[in-house]
Symmetry: none
Subunit: 206 residues, 4 copies
Amino acid sequence: MEKKHEVKTSVKDENLIEKRRHQMIRAAVTLFKEKGFHRATTREIAKEAGFSIGTLYEYIRSKEDVLYLVCDSIYNEVHDKLSQIKLENGTIDDLKNAIRHYYGVIDDMQDEFVVMYQESKSLPKGALDYVLKKELEMMDIFHKILKGCIQTGELELTDAQAKLYAHTLVVQGQMWAFRRWALRKEFTIEQFTELQIEFVLNGMGK
Amino acid sequence: MEKKHEVKTSVKDENLIEKRRHQMIRAAVTLFKEKGFHRATTREIAKEAGFSIGTLYEYIRSKEDVLYLVCDSIYNEVHDKLSQIKLENGTIDDLKNAIRHYYGVIDDMQDEFVVMYQESKSLPKGALDYVLKKELEMMDIFHKILKGCIQTGELELTDAQAKLYAHTLVVQGQMWAFRRWALRKEFTIEQFTELQIEFVLNGMGK
Amino acid sequence: MEKKHEVKTSVKDENLIEKRRHQMIRAAVTLFKEKGFHRATTREIAKEAGFSIGTLYEYIRSKEDVLYLVCDSIYNEVHDKLSQIKLENGTIDDLKNAIRHYYGVIDDMQDEFVVMYQESKSLPKGALDYVLKKELEMMDIFHKILKGCIQTGELELTDAQAKLYAHTLVVQGQMWAFRRWALRKEFTIEQFTELQIEFVLNGMGK
Amino acid sequence: MEKKHEVKTSVKDENLIEKRRHQMIRAAVTLFKEKGFHRATTREIAKEAGFSIGTLYEYIRSKEDVLYLVCDSIYNEVHDKLSQIKLENGTIDDLKNAIRHYYGVIDDMQDEFVVMYQESKSLPKGALDYVLKKELEMMDIFHKILKGCIQTGELELTDAQAKLYAHTLVVQGQMWAFRRWALRKEFTIEQFTELQIEFVLNGMGK
DNA sequence: AATGAATGAGGATTCATTCAT
DNA sequence: GATGAATGAATCCTCATTCAT
């Protein structure tokens, strides 16, 4: 398991670090969403976070660290939320459940998702790898569920298909965040979710 | 129909404009793919294109114009290629055909797609609107095919579904460009295409 | 009264702003005099002022701001100095006094005057208006003195004449700055002053 | 007598040179008045003049040459016009006549005057000297007239006074061009002329 | 003689980062 | 720990000038 990319800080107090980083991430998401990573300045981030540029740099080493913290925090939040899913035992309902949960998370964190996917390419190499790993983890949640369904015979898929469909599920969810400008006019998140569930289950032969 | 966003040039010779812009776009895609729009400098673009910074600015007004030209050219190319599809008369084969064609285009233009979707947010407002319009046009190609199939009774879908699935088809194609890093390990473009076709047709109840 | 054109700064410490701007203005006058506004580069200004280009831009928004600050500071200095004149009660001596004072100021600030009059056309619209207002204020000082003399009967002039002569007094003073290259060979400032006073008083029928 | 500053050209046909330069000067005055020497580009000058940038450079060596040609042409025009004055024999009427003539010229060529005085500092050293010489020549016209009046006893002035007053006459005329923004509201050129003549004659004790 | 495409030095401005207080 | 003034490398863009056609 690759080690987590570390962000150096010169502050000792762990609680303070937690608090400041939280402020920082909130500020950054707001700004990155509005103007993108490159156009948002560190000064603006500090100001929006409620402290000075000097203080910002007490908690990070470089601007890219901010982006990393943003991506990391989003992944963690998503992962936490998805981990709450109670999986039964390889039933289709597990899958439906997971999809509903996942789509709900995406709806809640639309801005964060858009920011993360549009800006993560700006991460330094090491951090990027870490983030791709996280992305795979997310895909893996669905992959596992699908494999569960295969084992119980609820679904008949090759392993390759299971993998592909796991990716597809992840991507179809992200669609809701990325194509808001078009989809919002036609569907509520509930409608979108149910239609996609139907489509996907059909797609997998159910 | 909204007028095309114009890029001013101080050069008069139309052929030359065509030629230089082509060089410019090729260079820009290469660089944007490598380091993104913001990290690529105008000098690098000019150099990669084979002329001087001064010459670059004879053909554009600002760096953002380069990005616009890139996006515009990609859309045009995709649109051209998709327009070559011979549509019969509302058969499922039309749909399969279109998907194969579309996926083929994406495979051919992977870099361009990634660049376009990752950087288009950096376009100035007016150009962004134009590009979103193009995106809708692309979606509309599939929407029309689906409506054709509905009319002939080949598919049974509500209009809302038709629209959503048109988006889904577009997005699932893009997946191939965006998740290369993961999908390439498991599938060839042909495998990917056929699996997705199967999935999608099942999804729509076929 | 029109509000003063404001120059934005990102520095908060008022004393520092005062100090840095003073350095900046001194440097700018030196350079503008030597090579004019357009040929003087911001880097040169910063260097001459004794700080870096980055620091310069902490105290201004654009190069034109420097010019504005120069003009503003000159007007303020002139205005301050002329305000020290003790005006009696509409006597010719008031007028003579004012002229002597004014000519003295011009002699002290020759470079500044030349810079201001040659470069102020490069000010952005808003700042230019503000500066023209200041110019009128200067004219008005003499206009008031003349009106005083008219009321006490010391001078017999129409109001139109008073206004015109006020302009003339201002301009004849500036002459000393602008035609240095010719006048310096023939006169000292004292000679120039006394001759002009004599001429002007005669001109007005005294 | 200093040799006239020469502007190199690669064109042989004298008539053509004359014609093109005339177009060029007209264009330049228009643009310099509007935006100043530095902000007017050579491309704009060429375009306004009705030919291409390449052609412009067939008739000049550098942008500064354009400015020189402008200044030179203005001086020549002024000088020509003032030379038409029929001088009698040292009478005050000669002086009045000259002033009226001069003020008329300034009124006709307001833009040219403003351009010339505001931009001439941008001339290269050699050309600047030539232009200052021209300025002295203009002053000299008045100086001669004054000396004429002194000799006939019409005026009682020291030679120093005669020189100073010659300068003053030149400057007071320019006032009309430079302070248009204020004077125009109060006076017509005729009123201005007559008031200044009265003032000046009084000033010289007449 | 006329044209206009090409050039690249030069200049204004921004902004991540540092460090003394 | 917090602050914010200072720094200067980096970058976009302009425009006078040249030269092949």
